[in-house]
Each structure stands twice: as structure tokens, then as C-alpha cells.
Amino acid sequence: MVQYNFKKITVVPPGKDFIDIILSRTQRQTPTVVHKGYAIKRIRQFYMRKVRYTQQNFYEKLSTIIDGFPRLDDIHPFYGDLLHVLYNKDHYKLALGQINTARNIIAKISMDYLRLLKYGDTLYRCKCLKVAALGRMCTVLKRITPSLAYLEQIRQHMARLPSIDPNTRTILICGYPNVGKSSFMNKVTRADVDVQPYAFTTKSLFVGHADYKYLRYQVIDTPGILDRPFEDRNIVEMCSITALAHLRAAVLFFLDISGSCGYTIAQQAALFHSIKSLFMNKPVVIVCNKTDLQPLDGLSEEDMKLVMEMKAEAMKTIPQGGDPNEEGVLLTMSALTDEGVMAVKNAACERLLEQRVDIKMKSKKINECLNRFHVALPKARDNRERPTCIPQAVLEAEAVAAAKEKEKLERDLENENGGAGVYSASIKKHYILANDEWKEDILPEILDGHNVADFLDPDILERCEELEREEGLRLEEEAAQDAFTIDGHDELTEEQHEILGKIRKKKAMLIQEHRMKKSTAESRPIVPRKHDKDRKFTTKRMGRQLSSMGVDPTAAVNRLLSQSRGRKRERSLSRADGDDMEVDGQHSDKKLRTRSWSRFQSRPMEVVVPGEGLRDSAQKKKAIKKSRDSVKKRNKQARRGEADRVIPTLRPKHLFSGKRGIGKTSRR
């Protein structure tokens, strides 16, 4: 069975895209690197491959296009004619033919160039030949660009054609424009055909499906036909004519008896008679539509006569030998009120079915089918009644089961106690324990840093008692032992402890002092002021210490005093006295001696001494301050002096070069 589905035709790319597709494919699928140093055979092969591959691609692509489009001679005449009506057979064939020729030309070009390439002696020549071959192929394709565009358009249109199966049960609706064909279609099938109150709303064929007696019927809605010569009909009308001519279907000829479509009954009858040749061998039903506006009985006599004539014609289509009942030939209906719609459909289907069965019965193949049929019926053995039997036991058991209360499920419990989200099922109730009261107990797991489970033991009571007894014994023993033990060295008394503490403190002090002494620079006998901040090392103190140790300190103190002299003013005063004496002229040499012996007089720093080069004490003060300030920074940086500008070796060579052996990273 041929499926007429034009949706699967592959897309026809426009000429430019076609070329791009093919060339880029060649570029992608064939090798791209070639050098002139290669053997010439290899170079030739490289380019021949390109040419051949391009040609193959062209061939394949064009072939799919040619094969994809249906050949008008091979398909069902209905489609053949329809396509001819819609797209013009000549044009269509021409386009396909052009593509076929292009395909052949391309094949020829490639063959020529492959032959030439065999004689290409350099890479350059081979390349030129390849370029020429591809260029010519593309030129050929460029020439058929309009055909490709036309085919693409046709493809798109064909994809949108209704998929009519010409061989199946079909009901065809025809008639003048605007007589209610599409309305009927919408009523009978699920198709959604546009219905408008003007002529030629339907411009092409539409397909819907209806069921009757478990069979599927194809309902085709056709555009309206006008009564005019065949040659004058336009494409829209021709669609209907094609369908009428080629489909073996039940024809519903719609008649607008109210005349609201704009055509009189006479005109419609004329149309019927002009196309009645198309109704040959088809069950025809004349449907008088729009009875809500004008009932059939209310027609004028002339019109009635016309209708009856048509009926008579329609009756002729019933094949001889068929039952000559008139029922399903002339029917009335109203698509608006739904009156008679189903009757029309049923009558059409019935008559179509009858006809098809008739034809089948007459065919030669029918015997093969009938031979296979056999309807079997069991023969009655006797006249006894044998109703179904249910044993009594089963019935009783069922009754018992029905009477018994159902076991409560967890789900029932949930529903009783507040439903999902409120009720929480307890697993604990299924525990098997010695006492049911224990089920809800919260089991202690941890106590004072111990796992309770580790201590669980059936005879824990006895063991505990045993342990207590043991402990009691131990304590007794211990007490006895304590009483007995004698330690040679008793604990020191508090007083002793105090004294021992003092001794230790003293020792510690001694050690500390000794260490301090050791650490002071060069263990000088004189303690510098720096280390004697709280005036510890004074003569007075020494005296006190010596006396506390039971030694007479006077001699030591005197010795010290004799060595250092104060700078009391009284001495200079006394000297001044001496000066007075000098006047007398006595002790002159003694005075000189005393002066030389005298201690160098100290003076404040800011006093200017002649020869220092400073103006006055203020200036000197300033200078001192400045010099102190200048060294402040240096001292802070722990520099030795102005010249201390040592830059240490930042990256000592021996630490940063060479392989690492054993040793630390810091010192190697």
C-alpha cells in the first residue's frame, strides 16, 4: 500500500547554500595538507580524491532530491491530477529534469578532470585542475538555482496537502459555493474547517474522519464548484473536480434549497447535470441543506420538479441488481439545527459500504477469503438447563468473611488519629518483652560517661555485693597496715617548713646575685649607676650589713670615704681663706700644692669654655640638643656610628647553590 505522505521529502537547499554545503563538506572530509615535496603520485591522488568526493556528494544530494519528489506517472491518478492542477505538470517535470541533467553533467565534468589530473605533473597544476573542476561543478549548479527554488516551494506546499488515502472508504462533499459543505464537515468530523458566510471560503481539499459501524470513513471537503465549462474552471474548482473524478467515494451533492447561497435551485440542478458524468458508479446522495430556512415541502412546484429530476438521476447511479430503495438518495438536513445531519452521514456510509462489499463480492479473489470463514456454534446436547453453579461452602465462607470485622491496619489507625502528618506510628508496640508496660520505656544509653549496655548483666546484683564485700575487706586491711607502718622520716613540722623555705630562698638569692655579678661587664668592682638604681650599694648599707653580720664596719667605711671626696663648697671657701692668708705672704708654696691637688672642678654642660667656638651658653645648649637628636635615630637602629652601614649578605652563596645533601635547609 502506497502511503501518500509528502511531508517526508527532504529539504531542497537554495543554490548558494547547496554549493556551500558541498564544498565545506569536501573541505572537512578530505585531507587538507599537501606539500610540493610529496611524491607526485600522492599529490595527484590528493586532488583526485577531492574532485571525486565533491562529485559524489553532488550526485548523492541531487539524487535524493530527484527520488524524494513523486513521479506524476507513478502515483495514484488522483494525486497525479491534483499535483498537475496545483503546480503544472510540465513545469514540475522540467525542474526535475534539469536537476537530473545537472547531475549527469557534474558526473561528466568530474570524469574529465579526473582523467586530466592523472597527467598533472606539479602540485600547482593539479591544484589548478581541481579548482577548475570544482568551479565548473558549481557553475552547473548555479544554473539550476531557479529550479531548486521552485522545487523547494512545491515541497513546502506539498507538505501541507491533506493526506488523503485514495483507496479507503471515502465520502466526498461537493456542491455550489456557500451551500453548507464545510458546516456539515465540522458537524460530522473533528476537522476544524473554516466556515464563513461568503463563497469560496474553502479553497483546497480538507480531510476529516468519521466513524460508522466501527469503521473509519474519510470525509473530504471540497471547494465549491460553479456551473461553467471545464476549461474556464480555476485551480480551486479543479481540485474538487479532480477529487470527484478519481476517488471511489460516496458523493454528497449539497443543495441549498433556501437559495440563501445566492444560486437558485435551477442553477444548482444545472451544475448537477453538467457534472453527473463524474458520478458514474458512485453512490450519490442529494442533500437538501438549510431546511431551517426553507423546508423541502414548501418548495414551489418547479423547483420540486428539478429536485425530483436530480433524484432520478442519482437513482441511476445505483448499480443494477442493488436494492432499489429510495431512502438514502434524497435527504434533508440543517447544519444549523443539527437536524438530519447524522441521518445524512449514516445513509452515505451505509450506501458506500454496500457498494464496496458488492464490488468485493464480485471480484475474483473473494472465494479465497470466503473459504477461510467458518462460524461455529455449539450444538445443544439435550434440553436441560445448565446455569452457573457456586458451591454452598464458598457462599458461606464469603458470608462469614463479609460479617467479620476487618483487621485494623496501620492506615486505619492513622485515619482515626488525625490522618497523615498528625499520627505517628509507633514501632515500639511490636516489641516482645516480658512485661507489656515496659514497651514505652525510654532506654538509658549513657550514664556518667559509661555505656549502660556495657554493664548489663543478669547477675549484676550478686556481683555487686561481692565487690562491696571485697572492698570492705580491703579497707580493713589498709587500716591495719596504716597503723603498722613506720616511716623513718616523718613529715616536717610547719616551723621546719618555714625555715626550710627561708633557707631555699636565701640560696636562690645567692645564686641569682652570683649570676648577676658574672654577667655585669668584666665583673667590675664598682657597680655602675645603671645597675644600682635603688641605691643598694652605698657605704651606709654596707656598714649596716657588716654590723648585722657581727663585724665592725668602721674601718671599711673610713677607707671608702678617704678615697672619694665630695665637692663641698666649704673646701673652696677654706681655700678662699687661704687666699686671705696669702696676702700675708705665708704658705705661698703650700697654697700652690693644695690647688694642684684639688679635684677638677665640675661644671654644667652648657657653660661655655673659651676655645670651644661657641658664642654663649644658649648656643651651646642648642648645639648639644642638636647633636643628641642627630644620634637618636642611629641609636635606635643599633648602629655603631655614622659609618655603620653594613649590608649583610642576603643570600649567602653556600646556602643557595649546589645540590642538597644531608643536612638542614638553613645550614648546609
Binding site: 515496659w438 559509661h450 555505656n451 548489663l456 556481683r463 555487686c464
Partner: protein, 163 residues
Amino acid sequence: MRLEKCWFCSSTVYPGHGIQFVRNDAKVFRFCRSKCHKNFKMKRNPRKVKWTKAYRRLRGKDMTQDTTFEFERKRNRPERYDRILTEQTLKAIPLITKIRHERQKKHITERQKGGKSMSRKKDAKELEQDLQMLPKKDTVAYEATKQKVIVSQLKTEENLMEE
């Protein structure tokens, strides 16, 4: 839920604390804190690290052998819950721990006995020898309380003879 012991220091690991390492042979190592975990990662032997229980046990610092330890042991057999038995157990646990603590205390005092007597001896000697370092007024009161040692006649004679 169980309280586990730290693999390194043997302290109790409460639920939600510490970290656990499962080796690819499925052995589980639990650690009470990062300190223990780090020490484990450093491949330290807990027996050689002073602050662990293993060290203390090995050196006899802690009590190891005692009947109280036999009460607490991991049971791998599931037991059916019994309220009476659980009550008894809950009562027994503090008792057992109390006894154990006392015994541990005793163990430690026993252990420290030798060192204590040594230090006492040392103190006494120091007091005897270095008393004169202090000023007299401090020591007078103490000297008075001290017993006079009666030097035997014999000893003096011996001394004289040596001289």
C-alpha cells in the same frame, strides 16, 4: 548511640565529637579531638607518648588490674530489654565507679610512696646542714626546740685517736 574510646588517648568520645578514620582494610580509628588525629597522622605510637592512657598503663602509672574493670565490657549479643535489670544496673554503675576511683587513688598513693620518703629525707638533710645560712635571730627559736644530740663518750675518744 554509644560512647567510644579514642584510639590514641583512650578518652571517651561522645556522639558528635571527634573524627573517625576508616582504613581500607575496614579498621576504624576514632579520635576524640584533632590533637589525637594529628598525632596519629604523624605515626606516633601512643605507648611512647606520655600523655596517653596507653603510656600510663604500660609504665604502671595507672591501675590496670582490678575486679571493677570486669563489670564493664562490650557485649556483642543483643539483649532483650528488662526494666528490673536495667534499674539494678543503673544503681550499680555509680557504686562500681566510686569503688574504682578509690582503688585508683590508693594505687597512686602507693606508687608515690618511695618518692615521697626520698624527698622527706632530702628536706631533713638540707635543714640540718644549711641552717647557719640564715641570720641567727631567725633560727634561735628553732634551735631551742631542737633536741640536743648527746655525743657519746666513745665516739669522742675515737675521734681523738684519729687525730
